[in-house]
Amino acid sequence: MLLELKEIKKSFGQVRVLKGVSFTLEAGKVLGLVGENGAGKSTLMNILGGIHKPSSGEVFLEGKAFAPQGPTVSLNSGIALIHQELNLFPNLTVFENLFVKNFPRKSVAGIKLIDRRAAIFRAKELLEQVGLDIEPDRIVESLSPAQRQLLEIAKALSSSPRIIIFDEPTTALTRHESRRLFSLINDLRSNGIGMIYISHNLEDVISLSDDIAVLRDGEFINGYTKGGGYSLGSIIRDMVGRDMDQFFPDRDNIPRTDHLLEVKNLGMAPIVNGVSFVAKKGEVLGFYGLVGAGRSEVARCIYGLDSFEYGEVLWNGMRVKTLNPAAWISRGVAFLTEDRREEGLLLDQSIEKNVALASLGSFASAFLRRIKRKDINSAAKKKAEATRVKCDSFDGQATSTLSGGNQQKIVLAKWLLTDPKLLILDEPTKGIDVGAKHDIYELVNELVGNGSSVLLISSELEELLGMCDRILVMNRGRISAEFAKDVFNREAILESALHVMEEAIGA
């Protein structure tokens, strides 16, 4: 047995990410690891890579207990990790990136210089292995995303690993490049290397893997073996699960027909490629898609946080010219971004100050813009209380001391205080506990009940199914499908998010 995991558990603070996962990997086999976003795949992989330590449970590498103290230890023990976010230095050349930690060197007059010829020779070998046809002295900055991904794989091979873990290696690759990668994986397999292959592209996983493990909510749900009789459908059913139906509070209002926000042919190559949609008054409109499908970017473009190349935005039927947060706030549009620590909260400030920040203008006198301190503080406190945030003090406690769920409630309270007509939520429940999630859903329902609209971007399909009146699915920067509430269908939605459209290949 090459690698064995026994009852691995991991919690971050109060959030349990892994609840006892066990599986094994044999030499010369590929294990496919699938599950929805947030199922715990990345955490599991980071534990193997020495980046996180498990809260409990054991890992055995070739029968010996294995507890890496850091990434270097893991790498030296023969485990190579290929991250989704690339660890390349764009200002260095291809071969420098391959060997930056350990160049082949030669001694010239007692000084150890880089043996450029040897480095380039070895680099060529590695590049050939992954089918990357570029000069080793090209600057990485000039490479395409696909080439960078393949280079990252070549870097992993340079340490001659016994186990390779791939995390979504094909998201940046064309179909042709993916096939090259798969034949490389098959070569590695015949050389006795064990691999863990993580991907949302289930067709790939099925065709590559000897075994498949399905994770959901940090638990091992089901395992399949090649030839053991399974289908795409059965895997998707395992991934999604069905025990969340009762969790979402009811809402009985019906969306009106008039358009609140209309986006026409919005584009920012290569992430967003011509997106058009309409949000109606009193509607919760969901956006589903894989990470990198362009959902957040659409919202950021609209809100003026990123610039876009073409397209237009209409608000209440009028074309909008100034796209910046201040202008949107005065129109009544709020945007809760994905990264609450970096973009949502002033971590050193109190709850009151955070909640008040986006509404200062409406609590200020016309002359000299003096803040009506009493009014704003009591309004902020009221809003924070309405979110049922748990804290010691509203004016003395820094928000950095709150738990993730409570922090998110503060950001939400900030936006609710602006009295939004449209609230854009980007992954509002990511990494927060069940109770806080429920509170947030209720707040959303209350807002919509008062006639406002919500744009809900989420990677949790259950959340969208439970909350939305309509769901748009994004795939590679385009809207690939639209579902109305009465025809919601998990399998079909997943299918249109995962499916690789042939016409998009090579674009």
């Binding site: 270097t72 230095f89 764009p90 260095l92 930056v100 210089l113 880089i114 990198g292 190349e309």
Partner: protein, 325 residues
């Protein structure tokens, strides 16, 4: 259309070093026939050797996205210490070795505060800038110090027809260039400057690298100071003032980025230093009002920093578009 425009802007920004150099040389060539004589060009090279040496050290620091404002003070301290030692009767070589040690030690002090206490480099080096200058003034009792003939001889001697300052410059540039481009240490400096966090994750000795660049910078500042006083023959109380600006400007003009990870000593910093010296030299030759010098130099440096910032903004933009897919 927009894309083409952006590309041509990028091209101009990428080659700004040579464009500026050419513009300055051609302008002065037109304004005065003396500028393009062999004598004057070799003068420029000799005069720029001190600045180029200091800027070489500064390049190491800038490559890690740091900064060292104390190099002018280090230069001054170097000058004062060497003058004192020679006046007390120490042999020349001992004075020079001591001075280089003092410079390196000064770099160590900077590095200590920056990496033990994580204080922003410009605040640390702003403080050591004042401490160094104050200490130098204390040692010299705020008087100009004349150096013995021996020093001036070093400055004017030629070996195989190459003036000594230029020779020193050559050695410094060559070894810095080798270190940066041909050694693992050098390549790791670039990696750290691009993204220190990534470099740490990849298991590189980040702290050791950061420490060594400040040592190198201190050493180069002292050496540059020695080369300068060997030409001047005296150390005035204002010696080395504003050298830090000139060194930073030379490095950035040579294409090194204030934001780290980009740049080189050869040809970059060398051309940068020669360009700046050409401005000074050209202004003298065309008999410009001396009061205009700091104005023109200040404006040129502003322009250089502006170009670097625009280049950086473009890169961040294109990186963001490229990486998230």
């Amino acid at each position: 259309m927009k894309v083409i425009q952006a590309r041509s802007i990028r091209k101009v920004l990428d080659h700004s070093t040579l464009i500026l150099f050419a513009a300055i040389v051609i302008t002065f060539g037109f304004l005065s026939s003396q500028f393009f004589t062999f004598q004057n060009l070799s003068n420029i090279l000799i005069q720029s050797s001190s600045l180029a040496i200091i800027a070489t050290g500064m390049t190491f620091v800038l490559l890690t996205a740091g900064i060292d404002l104390s190099v002018g003070s280090t230069m001054f301290l170097a000058g004062v210490v060497s003058a004192k030692m020679v006046a007390w009767g120490s042999p020349l070589w001992l004075a020079c070795v001591t001075v280089l040690l003092v410079g390196t030690l000064y770099g160590l002090v900077n590095a200590f505060f920056i990496y033990r206490f994580k204080i922003i480099p410009f605040i640390v080096t702003l403080a050591t800038f004042y401490v160094g200058r104050g200490f130098g003034l204390f040692l010299s009792e705020t008087r100009a110090m004349n150096l013995p003939e021996g020093f001036l001889k070093i400055g004017s001697v030629s070996i195989l027809g190459i003036p000594f300052p230029v020779l020193v410059l050559g050695v410094v540039i060559l070894s810095a260039h080798l270190a940066l481009s041909k050694t693992q240490f050098g390549r790791q400096i670039y990696a750290v400057g691009n993204n220190a966090e990534k470099a740490r994750k990849a298991g590189m000795p980040v702290d050791r690298i950061l420490l060594s660049v400040y040592l190198i910078c201190g050493f180069c500042a002292a050496l540059g100071g020695l080369v300068a006083i060997a030409q001047l023959g005296a150390v005035s109380p204002t010696f080395g003032k504003q050298s830090e600006f000139m060194a930073i400007a030379a490095a950035i003009l040579g294409g090194t980025s204030l934001f780290g990870g980009k740049g080189n000593v050869f040809p970059g910093t060398l051309i940068g230093a020669v360009t700046i010296q050409s401005i000074q030299n050209g202004l003298v030759i065309v008999n410009a009002n001396p009061y205009l010098y700091p104005l023109i130099t200040g404006a040129v440096i502003f322009l250089i920093v502006l170009i670097d910032s625009l280049r950086h903004m473009q890169e961040v933009k294109s990186r963001r578009l490229g990486a998230s897919f």
